[in-house]
């Protein structure tokens, strides 16, 4: 998403301009970003159909507000993810959806590597317990970095942080996870 060629960027800018002129012209942008936005939303919840509903809401909001979008260094995709983030968290606040974190076991390996711990079955259990006690602001950073494989630049753009700040905050979140993990390990043993 963040490795556009100049031609693709130019094409996207044209689409944006056309969508600003008429909402009917939003189609190509919808087609391009439907899957990434759905995956972002569904990553954070467990109800597939509701996730699709939220995706529709995201695009409706994007169509409504596209006139506000200005290409000032923030990619259009990041702008869409910001809307998606807002809609997802609103659904949690309204108790319409429950917050889930979806993880593949293989993705935990990298977390273990960062924490310099063995990725055995027992440790996975401790890690999951440790993850569940993290605060939202920390889990979202780890989620984007390790489970969605986003770059710090992209994380920063979505969370409205500088790239460096996103890196520092992710590192701190990892430190908290590690502290929780040690606590969890001790408590269970």
């Amino acid at each position: 998403m963040y490795h556009h060629t100049p031609e693709k960027l130019k094409e996207e800018r044209e689409w944006i301009q056309e969508a600003k002129n008429r909402p009917e012209n939003f189609g190509p942008l919808y087609k391009k970003y439907h899957e990434p936005i759905f995956r972002y939303v569904y990553q954070r919840m467990n109800d597939k159909e509701f996730a699709y509903d939220i995706v529709s809401q995201v695009f409706m909001k994007a169509m409504k507000n596209i006139h506000k979008f200005e290409d000032r260094g923030v990619p259009f995709s990041a702008w869409l993810f910001r809307i998606a983030k807002s809609e997802v968290y609103q659904s949690f606040r309204d108790n319409q959806a429950e917050r889930y974190v979806n993880i593949e076991t293989v993705q935990l390996v990298e977390v273990f590597e960062e924490m310099e711990e063995d990725d055995n079955e027992a440790n996975i259990k401790y890690l999951l317990t440790a993850l569940k006690s993290l605060k939202e602001k920390d889990i979202q950073l780890l989620e984007m970095r390790f489970f969605e494989k986003r770059s710090f630049k992209e994380i920063g753009e979505i969370l409205e942080l500088t790239e460096n700040n996103a890196k520092v905050k992710t590192f701190r979140a990892l430190e908290k996870l590690k502290a929780n993990y040690i606590q969890s390990n001790k408590r269970i043993n």
């Binding site: 529709s56 006139h67 974190v101 979806n102 605060k135 889990i139």
Partner: protein
């Protein structure tokens, strides 16, 4: 404590499955159903939003006439508030100097009538009937307004002037407008927004228009129709004719729709058939009837009728004497849906079509049903005919309006073709502008109360290389919780705040353009206001490349008005609020 649930290795969804769920048409339909009121859509102001242009034109023309003699309306409605009646500061708008604020002016308006408020600046607010959603419709609503045309007043009122990406606004005119009834906030019906024509002191073409979202505490861009009263008359003239053209097109379209509906009714009328007696098995008057025994097993469709006779269906080839002859055999058969009766004797045979009809009590029931069907037929026919008459009346009314519009367009085109007339209009317009003493207006529709601002974001200046020391005169350290840099050249205010719990020393990153005239205002933790000036420095070569290391503040007398002081410092003594 678990803050969320974790799914480990949930089955993946394929891209194909997600793609199948794509439905842009559905999203677009939903968007069209709930889309932002048209006045909030920027494309509304484009070629598609011709109606708004016309409305704006009307508002603008009203503003011209209102401003030529604005005093009368102001006298009728003006009632300045006491400070105790001021709406409370919101979390977003917080007057920084304790005990000082900018007064609102209150106008009492009737929510059940079209109202128009004309401010001293020439700014007009039109409140359409039904716009104010007041609890008590019969009681007047207080419209509280304060209009800002200088930095000092905006500062004293506590209007935030920062925008995203480290920028601050250069204002070209701002208005705050609230609605109150019995100390309760009144809202605006978004379908009937206020029409505001705000005076600006600068060329509005170089500024954007913004609405202060007090929930998110941020400025949001807001669509407007920029109005330059000094612009030539051609534009307005063209706008009006565009409206006429558009109205004519709309009217023609309405008439076409009515014609289509009339055609549809004609079509439906042609399809309504009058009930026929034979459908109810009722014999015709003076017809020839035969009583005939037949095997009901051969004709099961007739088995349900108890009393049945057969009626001769008259035909041109019918032998008028056949009933006078002796027939030895009569046979009933079917020819398709029809019944055929064959008469035979030793010499000849004869056949004729017949139809089964009722007699006795069954006939009476059938006759009643037939009468009801006739009544229903007449009622339905009348209903359609009434609809048609109404539509034709409606069509005639539209045609009258259409003719008027066409005549008006013709008249307008004639005027527009006459350059001499146009030139006169331009001259008159300019003369009005000179007499009224104003230049530019921005016209917009306000679907909610709040703060509206004609602004341009200006980047914060680069911070000085080294931290600044803040001192009172006499070298005592000044401990400010907020510092405001007023750049007189850029017409901007930059705000710097101490980080909570980290004290005055946390105010950092201050900088300003060294060659510009600058006024620095600080508010310390005890509420003292201090100020310092950096003026006439363009020609001061000794300071040009010199980093400023400290700012020495003069403490304002607590009893003195900060507004007056600031106006003097910012050279805004002649400006108005």
């Amino acid at each position: 404590m678990e803050n969320f649930k974790v799914n480990l290795d949930r089955p993946k969804i394929s891209s194909e499955e997600i793609a199948q769920k794509q439905n842009f048409e559905n999203v677009l339909n939903k968007f069209n159903q709930v889309k932002t009121p048209v006045y909030k859509n920027p494309w509304f102001w484009g070629s598609a939003g011709l109606a708004s242009v016309g409305l704006t034109t009307i508002v603008s023309l009203n503003a011209i006439s209102a401003n030529v003699n604005p005093k009368k309306e102001i006298d009728d409605k003006k009632a300045t508030l006491t400070k105790s009646e001021l709406p409370k500061d919101t979390e977003c708008i917080k007057a920084p100097i304790e005990g000082e604020n900018i007064d609102f002016k209150t106008y009492h308006v009737n929510a059940l009538k079209d109202e128009k408020i004309v401010l001293e600046s020439g700014t007009t607010i039109e409140i359409p009937k039904g716009s104010l959603l007041a609890e008590n419709k019969t009681e007047k609503v207080d419209i509280k307004i304060r209009e800002f045309h200088d930095k000092a007043s905006v500062f004293i009122a506590g209007i935030p002037m920062d925008y995203e990406n480290n920028t601050a606004f250069e204002s070209a005119g701002m208005i705050e407008i609230r609605g109150v009834q019995n100390n309760k906030e009144v809202k605006i019906n978004p379908k009937k927004p206020l029409e505001i024509s705000l005076k600006t002191d600068k060329n509005p073409e170089t500024f954007d228009f913004w609405y202060l979202n007090e929930e998110s505490k941020s400025w949001e861009i807001f669509p407007t129709q920029k109005q330059d009263f000094t612009s030539n008359f051609d534009e307005k003239s063209n706008q009006k004719s565009v409206i006429l053209t558009k109205s004519i097109t709309n009217k023609k379209s309405e008439i076409k729709t009515i014609n289509d509906r009339i055609n549809l009714i004609d079509n439906q009328l042609s399809k309504i058939e009058k009930p026929k007696e034979e459908e109810f098995k009722i014999p015709k008057k003076n017809s020839q009837l035969f009583d005939l025994d037949f095997d009901k097993n051969d004709y099961p469709e007739l088995a349900t009728f108890k009393e049945l006779v057969f009626e001769i269906i008259p035909s041109k080839t019918q032998d008028p004497n056949f009933t006078k002859k002796n027939w030895s055999d009569i046979d009933l058969s079917k020819d398709g849906d029809k019944y055929l009766m064959k008469f035979k004797n030793s010499r000849e045979s004869y056949q004729t079509y017949v139809r089964p009809v009722l007699k006795g009590s069954e006939l009476k029931i059938a006759e009643k049903k037939f009468d009801l069907a006739i009544e229903e037929f007449k009622a339905t026919k009348k209903e359609f005919e009434t609809k048609k008459v109404n539509l034709e009346t409606e069509k005639k009314a539209h045609e009258v309006v259409l003719n008027k519009l066409i005549n008006e367009e013709t008249r307008k085109n004639q005027i527009r073709n006459n350059q001499a007339v146009e030139d006169t209009d331009v001259k008159v317009n300019k003369e009005i502008q000179q007499v009224a003493g104003f230049s530019n207006f921005i016209t917009f529709q306000a679907p909610a109360f709040g703060v509206f601002n004609c602004d341009k974001p200006i980047p914060y200046p680069k911070a000085f290389e080294s931290s600044l020391a803040f001192l009172w005169i006499g070298h005592q350290i000044a401990k400010f919780k907020q510092i405001f840099i007023f750049d007189l050249e850029k017409n901007t205010r930059y705000t710097y705040s101490a980080i909570p719990n980290q004290g005055y020393e946390s105010i950092d990153n201050i900088g300003f353009h060294k060659n510009n005239d600058i006024v620095v205002v600080g508010i310390d933790f005890d509420g003292n206001v201090g100020y310092a000036e950096f003026k006439d420095r363009k020609n001061d070569k000794s300071k040009e490349n010199h980093n400023i290391e400290k700012i020495v503040f003069t403490k304002k007398d607590k009893s003195a008005s900060t507004l007056d002081l600031l106006k003097k410092l910012l050279n805004e003594t002649g400006s108005s609020v």
